[in-house]
């Protein structure tokens, strides 16, 4: 591994990656879903994870989240090798996943949702005041101005606001790596704008962000790096400035684009 790290870095890899995957393999029975995956995710940067349906995006994030432990390969978190054998391992390290189907309870308010399962207490009594303050601080830090009240029920929020709350919930836990699974998939134009702004601020506040999307506009709007998966392999993991839209689409659909992408022998098996 050390040999890899000493390879001359490009400008954007000078910083130590928050998460670093090397040679990760994952199979479900006879089906190998992830092949020798290399991926670096940097603090303060948005990494767009793109790939066609079935390319292995979901499996990859579930491996990072500890839901599907990997078969082989190494995972380093902030430079230290780690084992991710369950969601708790991931949460302890500061990895938070915001799933596409939002894990929010409609009948609870914003504060209650953000602290769900991890309520602050004084004795047996819920410490509502401190939770409300912390929730508001987090939302303020992320410059969320669209919420009328933090004591609003989630059922009364728009899709974009709900996504915002889900993301803020992930940030509340001093998370270092936030993984967003298609956060703009079901949103309108204005709400997509809100969420993309929020994703940007998430990175600007020092989080490493993995952003899964099918939308090329979103990728070039918000991402600093792009990682393309093709049939379970990482076809490219490069700064966004080194690729254009056509190249990214080629990487997604064929795993190659000019000099970039998988060697032809890898594509054959």
């Amino acid at each position: 591994m050390s040999a890899l790290e000493q390879t001359p870095p490009t400008s954007s890899t000078l910083e130590r990656p928050t998460l670093s995957l090397r040679g990760v393999n994952k199979s479900f029975g006879a089906v190998q879903v992830l092949h020798d995956v290399h991926l670096d995710v940097y603090p303060g940067k948005v990494t767009a994870l793109v790939g066609d349906n079935g390319a292995g995006k979901s499996t990859l994030i579930k491996s990072i989240a500890g839901i599907h432990p990997i078969d082989s390969g190494t995972v380093e978190f902030e430079g230290k090798p780690v084992q991710l054998n369950g969601p708790r391992d991931a949460a302890r390290l500061g990895i938070e996943v915001v799933y596409q189907d939002l894990a929010l309870a409609d009948n609870l308010d914003v504060v209650q949702n953000m602290f769900l399962g991890r309520e602050r207490k004084r004795g047996v009594v819920l410490d509502e005041a401190s939770m409300e303050e912390a929730a508001r601080d987090t939302l303020t830090k992320l410059s969320v101005r669209t919420l009328k009240s933090v004591r609003q029920l989630v059922s009364s929020l728009s899709g974009g606001q709900r996504q915002t709350v889900a993301i803020a919930k992930a940030v509340l836990w001093e998370s270092k790596l936030v993984i967003l699974d298609e956060p703009t998939a079901a949103l309108g134009v204005a709400q997509t704008r809100q969420v993309l702004d929020l994703v940007r601020r998430l990175a600007d506040t020092g989080h490493a962000v993995v952003f899964i999307t099918h939308n090329m506009v979103d990728v070039f709007e918000v991402a600093d790096r792009v990682a393309a998966l093709y049939l379970g392999r990482v076809a490219a993991d490069v700064p966004i400035s080194e690729v254009d839209r056509t190249q990214v689409i080629e990487l997604i659909t064929s795993g190659r684009s000019g000099e970039l992408g998988l060697a032809s022998d890898a594509l054959e098996d």
Partner: protein
């Protein structure tokens, strides 16, 4: 109200310089709070409104129809005592309904527990505290059983409790014996529904409740305001305290009047069952709104998958909800035993459960889970008790009694379903 109020509230509160969250400040005005409430109503969340309206309308109706008997202290005391077993049973059902489950066996569980109580007192001859503990423990064990079948085995609660509804009637029948009635003459148990607090003690307790409630509400308002948290306008807090105070003082006053029919007997004071219900209301409200267990009950009812992903042990919450429901059913059974001074083989069968479900739903607890409070059981239980009591005074035929009570439950369930639909369409 006016823009003056708004600026006054804005100026007086030492708010944090918050970006956004205007609502957290605007809600501080009475106008904002009223608008918020109207919005909630429009979105289908009726809260306590139907129950309060029901109590007022039915009260006026029965007073008009039976002016000599309905609004007398004697009948009102009777009505309150009548309502207590329904209220306590409904309080337990609130926990199960909050999860979106149902406990059709709650009524007959109260019957089994009262049979256990009677057998412990009469056959075994144990002291009343042991008998009471035995009855409640029986309820808790039944709750573990029911909750495990629902939460662990995964049978729909409707089926589990329907089966138990039948099964437990058999258990009560076995314990009490065919055609038999076990009289319960134990003085403490009998006193619950048949004896009253001394008038002075009643007033002291009433004053304590009002002062404690007012103190807590004002303290919370102050601390929320000083920390710049979302809070209600002071006027609204004071208004709520005034309403509670008026109700507590009013009820205490009525119950402190000598209501004996014969001049020779002195019959005044609050029946012991009433402060017991108030105590349960306080404890359960605390559990639901101020502990993480309560929060998790709402979360599981609102979105079980979200709760699971948040690390909440959903199975444990399900089992505990049934334990609470069945334990409260046992207390309800004890109150019913006290009122009748006996236990019959059909204790807790018949319309007991229907009344309790009706009470919870009329009070504002949703049958779809996620919405409900302990106070719903009290308000709805009073509505049900007023209907039963009023129809009794009118001498309505038994068949009509069933039809009317069933109709009221259907009406409440319709309101609940429509409110839910309304909330779903209001969202998007």
């Amino acid at each position: 109200m006016s823009s003056n109020t708004l600026t006054a509230a804005e100026a007086s509160g030492p708010h944090k310089p918050a970006a956004g969250f205007e609502g957290d400040r605007h809600d501080n005005t009475v106008g904002g709070a009223v608008r918020g409430y109207l919005n909630k109503l429009r979105a289908g969340d009726l809260g306590a409104l139907p129950a309060v309206l029901g109590i007022v309308v039915l009260g006026i109706l029965f007073t008009a129809l039976r002016p000599d008997t309905f609004l007398t202290p004697l009948n009102l005391a009777n009505l309150l005592v009548q309502s207590t077993p329904i209220i306590v049973l409904a309080m337990g059902l609130v926990f199960v309904l909050l999860l979106g489950e149902i406990d059709l066996s709650a009524g007959v569980v109260s019957g089994v527990c009262s049979a256990v109580l009677a057998q412990l007192l009469v056959q075994a001859g144990v002291a009343w505290p042991i008998a009471v503990l035995g009855a409640i423990a029986t309820g808790a064990v039944i709750g573990v059983f029911t909750g495990s079948l629902v939460g662990i085995v995964g049978i729909p609660s409707f089926v589990v409790t329907l089966a138990l509804f039948l099964g437990f009637q058999g258990v009560t029948l076995r314990l009490i014996g065919q055609g038999g009635t076990v009289p319960v003459r134990e003085p403490v148990i009998r006193a619950l529904a048949n004896e009253n607090l001394p008038v002075t003690l009643g007033w002291i307790l009433a004053a304590l409740v009002v002062v404690a409630y007012a103190g807590f509400e004002l303290w919370r308002w102050r601390s929320q305001r000083s920390r710049g948290l979302a809070h209600q306008p002071l006027l609204l807090v004071v208004l709520r305290i005034a309403v509670i105070a008026a109700v507590v003082v009013g009820v205490t006053a009525i119950l402190s009047v000598d209501r004996a029919l014969a001049a020779a007997i002195d019959l005044a004071g609050i029946p012991y069952a009433v402060p017991l219900v108030v105590l349960l209301l306080l404890v359960l409200t605390f559990v639901l709104s101020r502990t993480s267990f309560g929060r998790h009950v709402y979360a599981v009812g609102g979105n079980a998958e979200a709760a699971r992903r948040a690390g909440i042990n959903v199975t444990r919450i399900r089992v505990l909800a049934f334990v609470i429901s069945s334990s409260l059913a046992a207390i309800s059974g004890i109150l019913a035993t006290s009122r009748l001074s006996s236990v019959t083989p059909d204790a807790g069968a018949g319309n007991t459960l229907l009344y309790a479900v009706g009470a919870a739903v009329i009070g504002g607890t949703s049958l779809f889970g996620g919405r409900g409070r302990a106070r719903d059981a009290v308000l709805g239980g009073l509505v049900i008790a007023i209907i039963a009591n009023g129809l009794g005074l009118l001498g309505v035929a038994a068949y009509l009694n069933f039809i009317i009570t069933g109709g009221v439950l259907l009406l409440a369930a319709s309101v609940d379903a429509l409110a839910r639909r309304r909330a779903a369409t209001a969202r998007r």
